[in-house]
Structure formats: C-alpha cells, structure tokens
C-alpha cells in the first residue's frame, strides 16, 4: 500500500508556506546562527530579529533571567538598523529558499511606514510589524495597546508596502481580540500573537530587580496556556489568518495551537534551549499526521470541538 505524505502546506493570503512552522523574531537571529543545527529550507518561514530605522544598542545587562519554565528578557531591541540590515544581513537571507519575514519596529508612525517602504525592493515573503513595546511620540500611548493606533499603524504600513503584513500583537491588553480586529480593519494580511507578557524578578539578597531594565518580557512554556487562550479568542473574532506564538516546544503544542485556530505557529524561546527544535517539529508534525491518518494539516486548523 502506498502511504501518501501528508500535505503540510498552509496559506496566509496569497503566500503559500511549505508548512506551518516558523521561527519567532528575536529567537533565531538572522537564520545563519542556526544553520549548523537546522536545515533552514525545511521551515515554513524564518522571522528575523526586529529592525528599526536607526541602529539600537539595546539595554544594559543583565538582560535575561531564567524563571520557572520560562525566561524574562529585556534585550531592548538591539539591532543594526535598516541600512546595515539591507547591506549585511539581507544578501545571506536571500540564499534561503524558505520564506523570510522581516520584523520591523518604530518609535513613531513615520518610522514604521519608512521601514515598510525600504523593504519594498527586497524578495522577502512578508513583513511582521512589532507593535508590542514602542511608545508613540505624541502622548506616549503604546501602539499595541490602543486599538486606534493599531489601526493607524496597520493602514500606513499596508499602504506603503507591497508585501503581506503580519501585525504582531501584545498580550498586555484587556481585550486582545479588539486589537486583532483593529489590525484586520487596517488591512493586515494576518495577526501573530502573543508577544511576551510583562514580568519581573527580584534578587532578595540584594533587594534589586534581576533585570537592569527592572521589568521584562516573560516567554517560554510558562506562558503557553495564556497564548493558546488568546489565539483561540482572536481566531473567533477575525477572518484573517492567526499565527500562534507562546511557549511552543513540542508537536502537541503545535497541534493545540492549530486546533485553537492558528494557521501557522512560531517557535520562540524553544530555539534558545534546543537549537534543532524547529526542524524537529516539522518532522514531528508530519509524523503526527501520518500516525493519525490526517491527510492535510489544514484539517487541524480551527478543529476544536465544542
């Protein structure tokens, strides 16, 4: 008997992915850092470290803390800036046949729009817009926590770019589905969630925060149930594809997010712990489908039973 290989492909608008496994921004460098551990071309896509208009040196150390089943980070968006990114990082990214998603971040609406435009001539698969931490120039309201600003940023980036636009949402809000709806209304091709949850750790010996930045973003297996709940809520609310992120490290985690309504998923902190995990999960997902006689991964998406 011929055993057919299951169909792992998924689509985000017109963008066809070989499989739903992506790597999350800030946990996979520019891909090359993992080339010894993972065949990058087997991944659905890689999302590179967030890039800003001007270079950023990032926050002072200590920048990371290990917590129960998770980690806190306050890296501070260290990156070489768009000019250096385009001349030094982009050429090597073009060697990969998997989709390349560039994550962008700005301090102002204009910066997001400028970045979208600067990426027009590149061969990237999509832009992911990080609206999780930066502050608006005027008023100082965080972009990602105000539905109106989410809409404004999305619309501007949409108008100035010819690529699929993924809006990366912050979980540090009362109603994440409202943010997703605002992104959809602004013309987003997809939403990705969740970014890290704001957290803190204190050294009781010195009575000081363990992070130089005092607070930081919590990630890792500890946040998975929250991420899964938010993905499920957002998938009920919007029609655009949802990309699930948050503590994913096993095939079971991947399947849970797909069932909750995610079209694709991103591996984040797990890459830091097990550099080979992304490719392992592509294999693992294929085996899962084979073992359970599921012909296509699409059958799992939104497959949650009442």
């Amino acid at each position: 008997m011929v055993v057919n290989k299951p169909d792992l492909t998924v689509a985000i608008g017109d963008w066809q992915l070989a499989n739903p496994i992506m790597t999350a921004s800030g946990t996979f460098g520019y891909g090359a850092e993992f080339a010894d551990f993972v065949n990058l071309n087997r991944l659905g896509a890689i999302v590179v470290k967030g890039v800003s208009v001007k270079p950023r040196i990032g926050n002072p150390p200590p920048r990371i803390v290990e917590t129960a089943c998770g980690m806190l980070n306050a890296i501070g968006l260290e990156n070489p800036g768009i000019d250096k990114f385009l001349t030094e990082k982009m050429p090597q990214l073009q060697n990969f046949t998997c989709g390349v998603v560039v994550n962008i971040l700005g301090d102002s609406l204009e910066e997001y729009c400028t970045l979208a435009e600067r990426l027009k001539e590149t061969a990237i698969a999509a832009i992911e817009v990080n609206i999780s931490c930066p502050n608006v120039k005027k008023g100082g309201v965080a972009f990602g926590t105000d539905a109106r600003m989410v809409y404004e940023v999305t619309r501007c980036v949409r108008e100035r770019s010819n690529k699929p636009i993924i809006m990366k949402l912050s979980p540090n809000v009362t109603d994440i589905a409202a943010m997703a709806a605002a992104a959809e209304e602004g013309g987003a091709s997809a939403v990705s969630l969740i970014n890290t949850l704001l957290g803190m750790a204190i050294d009781i010996r010195t009575r000081r925060p363990k992070l130089a930045n005092k607070v930081g973003g919590l990630s890792g297996p500890a946040i998975k149930p929250i991420a899964l709940r938010m993905v499920w809520q957002v998938a009920q609310r919007v029609k655009v594809p949802v990309i699930g992120i948050g503590g994913i490290s096993t095939v079971e985690d991947v399947v849970e997010f797909l069932l909750a309504g995610a079209t694709a998923i991103q591996i984040g902190t797990a890459n830091l712990i097990n550099p080979g995990v992304a490719e392992e999960l592509v294999d693992g997902l294929e085996n899962y489908l084979l073992e359970n006689k599921i012909a296509a991964v699409k059958e799992l998406i939104n497959g949650l039973l009442a």
């Binding site: 460098g29 993992f34 010894d36 551990f37 470290k49 150390p61 290990e66 980070n73 260290e78």
Partner: protein, 268 residues
C-alpha cells in the same frame, strides 16, 4: 556567511565518567564531533537529554577543560538547580550537548605565557596550556592559580601533572601557596621572568586587576568572561557586556564575540 562545514554540533553525548567531591564535579562526555573542531577557550552548553521538564529551562554553559580522543571534560561547581541536576547524573546517562561555541583564546607567538586563573575560571587553562605547548613546545608556560581554599584548587590538580607547565598557587585563606591574591603572583612572576602573553579567566575583580596591570605594563592580555546565557549562538543577545567604548561600539556578546576577548576591547 557562506555555506561551510559545520562548525557547531548538537549531539547526544554519553557521560563516561563523573566524580564529585564537596561541591566540585568533573565530568567526561563522549562528543567526538565537537572535540574534532574544539579550541581552547570555547565552551559547550549541556542539558540532561532525558529532562523534558522545562524547569530549569536553560542549558548550562561550561568551558572545555580537556579534549582527548573524542572525550571532553568539564569541571563545575554546584551553585544552583541546573548544576545540582548535572551532579546527580551517572556514567552511561546521556547529555544533550551543543558546541563548541564562541571564540576561544588566540595563541600568542610570544615565547612566554602567563595563564592566570581564579576559582572555576581555572577550568579552561588546562586545554589552553596544552594548545600553547602543542603549537610551540619551546614555550615557557606559567600557570598562576588562585582560589578561596586549597580544597577548591584540588579540583584542578591535573594541571600539576603537565610537565611543561610551571604552576604557582595562591589562596585567600592561606591553605595552599601564597596567602593572598593571584595578581600578586603575576606581578612577581613578570618581574622575575620577564614579559609574556597573559591569558585570564576567573572572577571579574581578579580579571579586572589582571587587565589593568597588563595595560600598565603593556602586556598582551586576553580575558575569558562568564555571564548568564540562554542560546549560546548569538541569537538572543542576552549575554551582553559593555564594549570599551559603549557609546560608540555598544555591547559585545559573550557567546558569540567571546567568551575570550582582548582585554582592551571591553569596559574595565
């Protein structure tokens, strides 16, 4: 970066030997692919292969103490849950090992080499001494080792067996060698023996003193730094240290730019 032969590996390494005395442990792991490309000053990150608990989450980084015939040896002190779990492991059990990581020591062409180690920072100096000797068997190599007590220095007794190495000791409590700081030994050794290349690994105050002394004496100096680390491959940017010119250069990353740096490149 162009396509290249693998410089780093992730493998399942069987523990061949493990022995702990007090809180100091020595572990030898079968890791041929890593040993094949490893250099002095580089490190590996390990996690018990069977531990899927995610708690503790991170791998733990250890510098390479010895690399012989596909076996690598690490020496560590039990300081927290991660190292306690490793100390409980037994020969035959398997570690998930990633390495070799980072940039190791640059072997100087100077005829004389001073290896200055403090506490667990002594660990990488064994492989370094062997590498210097292999490059030039005529080299004069002097190890100046400091620790809190003689007990701590016992973990590194094997350095005394290297016939090409001259070893001098210092302890905080006077239980072995000079009763005082290892920097005293360096100053004395240079005054008596003359200029040489300096390599240092240990607590930051010790390395800072060594680096400042070398700067004053204009001796070439490399320091091997230790920080909290998550990925070890330059992706998370968590292991930042201040460059010599923070405003201009920003931060350096211990896992990728180091762990070994020219002392002049970092903020003292």
């Amino acid at each position: 970066m162009t396509m290249h032969a693998k410089a780093k590996h992730q493998l399942q390494g069987e523990i061949r030997e493990i022995s702990c005395r007090d809180e100091y442990c020595r572990m030898t792991i079968a890791a041929p692919a890593i040993c094949h490309v490893a250099a002095a000053g580089q490190f590996v990150m390990v996690k018990p292969a069977a531990d899927k608990s995610n708690d503790p989450l991170f791998r733990r980084p250890f510098s390479l103490h010895q690399v012989v015939d596909g076996l690598l040896t690490i020496i560590f002190k039990i300081v927290g849950r991660g190292t306690r779990n490793l100390a409980k492991m037994q020969a035959g059990e398997v570690l998930d090992v990633v390495g070799p990581l980072g940039k190791g020591f640059q072997l100087s062409s100077e005829p004389r080499h001073y290896l200055v180690g403090g506490g667990m920072g002594i660990a990488p100096l064994h492989l370094l001494a062997e590498s210097i000797n292999r490059q030039n068997p005529q080299s004069e190599i002097i190890a100046l080792l400091g620790a809190r007590t003689a007990r701590e220095l016992d973990a590194f007794a094997d350095l005394q067996d290297l016939r090409f190495l001259r070893v001098e000791l210092a302890t905080d409590d006077g239980t072995a060698g000079h009763h005082g700081l290892v920097i005293d030994l360096l100053e004395r050794a240079v005054a008596a023996g003359g200029r040489g290349a300096v390599y240092s690994c240990g607590p930051w105050p010790m390395m800072k003193a060594v680096a400042l002394y070398c700067r004053a004496k204009q001796l070439p100096c490399q320091v091997s730094l230790e920080t909290v680390m998550a990925c070890g491959v330059g992706a998370c940017l968590g292991c930042a240290v201040s460059g010599a010119d923070v405003a201009g250069d920003g931060y350096l990353h211990v896992c990728k730019d180091g762990p070994v740096f020219e002392a002049g490149k970092i903020w003292l």
